[in-house]
Symmetry: C2
Subunit: 345 residues, 2 copies
């Protein structure tokens, strides 16, 4: 059996209608809804074929049809009309916050959630092979030292270190020099025991300060700390009956609250080429690498904060999500983020 043009039109009509109403779509509706001028009986025959081909399904005998994942997929890949979505407020709001990446990303997530009525998530970009750029110790109070570490990508970390014995100005200066000469330009793998030993020797009785600082550096560079994900609008899923039943909603909300599982989504890359082209990716149902999302769809986009440093933005909603709007919104957003990052960094 072939998927001729008429079948495609009918499939499209079924999907569109179902996206709008959330109710199974019957043959009579299609007969009126499309400009095919066919009777419901004919449509029935065609729908029967489409069902056999696996694009639509009946939730039960004597009900209308709803799209299968395969049906959605065909729709998203071939029949979706581009609909660029304007979000005027975005630029203004984002510009104000652009100096603090965390706030910016949180803001982006919120805007997306409010605009789409779905749940959004934004991952903080990961810097690979991060190197130490700058270390500085300053005496804040007697017995209190402030260590500031700047990592490639201008990530700043700090820690207050309590001293058991006070530090002279000269010693502080010396430690600063030692730290910077030894550590500058190194990444985690390059800071080895031999190096640490040498630094501690130079620091003499203040060797524990060195240890303290290295801890902070390790923490700053290590992946774990960096897998931060911002979400917004998690409660939006309660607006969609197909997701809001106690169990599903509970699992989903828990996933969004804990965030840990979400890293799987963010890190998943089905097609490297797509990422490099900043393409929008659509996951339908089981396609997402996360069991709880089997009844959801997810649309993700990759943004680039600077050469080679990527983060991801995703929107999660019911399968009958307004794909056109979501994809359009994400595309607009990508453009605006690009502008902001180019300007600011």
């Amino acid at each position: 059996m072939e998927l001729d043009d008429r079948k495609l039109k009918i499939l499209q009509a079924v999907v569109r209608n179902y996206l709008e109403t959330g109710e199974p779509v019957g043959s009579r509706t299609i007969s009126k809804y499309t400009d095919l001028n066919l009777s419901s009986a004919t449509i029935r025959n065609e729908m029967s074929d489409l069902e056999e081909l696996g694009f639509i399904i009946q939730p039960h005998t004597s009900a209308g049809r709803i799209p299968t994942d395969k049906g959605y997929r065909l729709y998203v890949d071939n029949m979706m009309a581009e609909r660029i979505q304007e979000i005027d407020e975005i630029k203004d709001k984002l510009d104000q916050k652009a100096d603090r990446i965390e706030l910016l990303l949180q803001q982006v997530a919120k805007l997306l959630a409010v605009n789409t009525n779905y749940t959004s998530m934004v991952s903080k970009p990961k810097y690979k092979h991060k190197k130490v750029k700058f270390v500085q110790l300053s005496e804040v109070e007697e017995n209190q030292l402030l260590a500031v570490i700047v990592i490639e990508g201008n990530i700043v970390k700090n820690k207050i270190i309590h001293l058991s014995l006070p530090l002279t100005k000269e010693m502080t200066l010396k430690l600063n020099i030692v730290l910077n000469t030894f550590l500058q330009g190194l990444d985690l793998t390059e800071i080895n025991m031999a190096l640490i030993q040498k630094m501690k020797e130079q620091a003499g009785e203040y060797s524990d300060v060195i240890g303290n600082i290295l801890d902070v550096i390790a923490e700053a560079i290590s992946e774990e700390d960096n897998l931060e994900i911002y979400t917004s609008g998690a409660t939006n899923i309660l607006k969609y009956p197909e997701l809001s039943d106690a169990n599903k909603a509970s699992e989903l909300l828990y996933t969004f609250e804990e965030k840990e599982e979400l890293t799987k989504l963010i890190n998943d890359t089905r097609d490297n080429e797509d990422v490099e082209n900043h393409a929008i990716q659509v996951y339908i149902g089981d396609e997402a690498p996360l069991q709880v999302m089997k009844d959801c769809s997810m649309v993700t986009a990759t943004y680039e904060i600077e050469e080679g440093v990527y983060g991801k933005i995703g929107i999660v909603g019911p399968k009958r999500m307004d794909y056109e709007k979501v994809v359009g919104t994400l595309k607009t957003l990508m453009v605006q983020l690009d502008e902001i990052f180019k300007k600011k960094i």
Copy 2:
């Protein structure tokens, strides 16, 4: 009508039983449950009295009784058995994180939520009249300056400042001196235009750097930024049928996600004396200053991070919450937090 001892015992039995089961409690149950050796008929008479006094109520004719807010209140104030709750894991887990207050508080929230199966929230303490303790500029790269500001209470803020024209080492040193001599020990109200003008004069062509730093300082000190609240276990409320119906759950979860409204709870102080004594406060239903919580109870405690610097910890759950456990858990936690803060700060 008087509240004699027997009535109290019956009320206590009703509350206890309802806390456990969540079902209206009938006279026959009480008759067996207590050691009063009274027939159900007698209990019925007493319960009728208790209802007239407003401590219990029938959800409908021919159902058992459930406690009213007034009933819970009496129970919490007078009949609750202290039950100190051990949370062994707490100390270990918290000790590791004690150097980063945000992580610590987030961790505390999580522990509470996991231990109690309710929703927890922890507010970051507010420092009043915060003063600038230390300011430092360092050159990270050409055209890139790192500003670090330490506020009283060892709050560290930093910002990368992009320069339009490069800065010499001497100039950096000079700016550092200017900033520190002018700003050290001042709070927001004391940094006025006259002062700013003087500093800018001294900075010469780098006056915009001064402006930039003042912005960061303002942000660091300002209240707004500081009203941070950490929550955990929001989805736990879905475990309680009386809260998990679509509407209530949705409103509650939204409140926990947005957090903004929660500041009302955190800031509410019915009794100043209580706060100073680090007493546990219990809000039942409408007693909480937040409409969405009318079907919930909340238990809060005040912790002191250092002399005069308070934060709040709260647990939100259904009215039929295990008050004894929650209060006990919070008390234990308070002791352990006290220890940690005394040791570390």
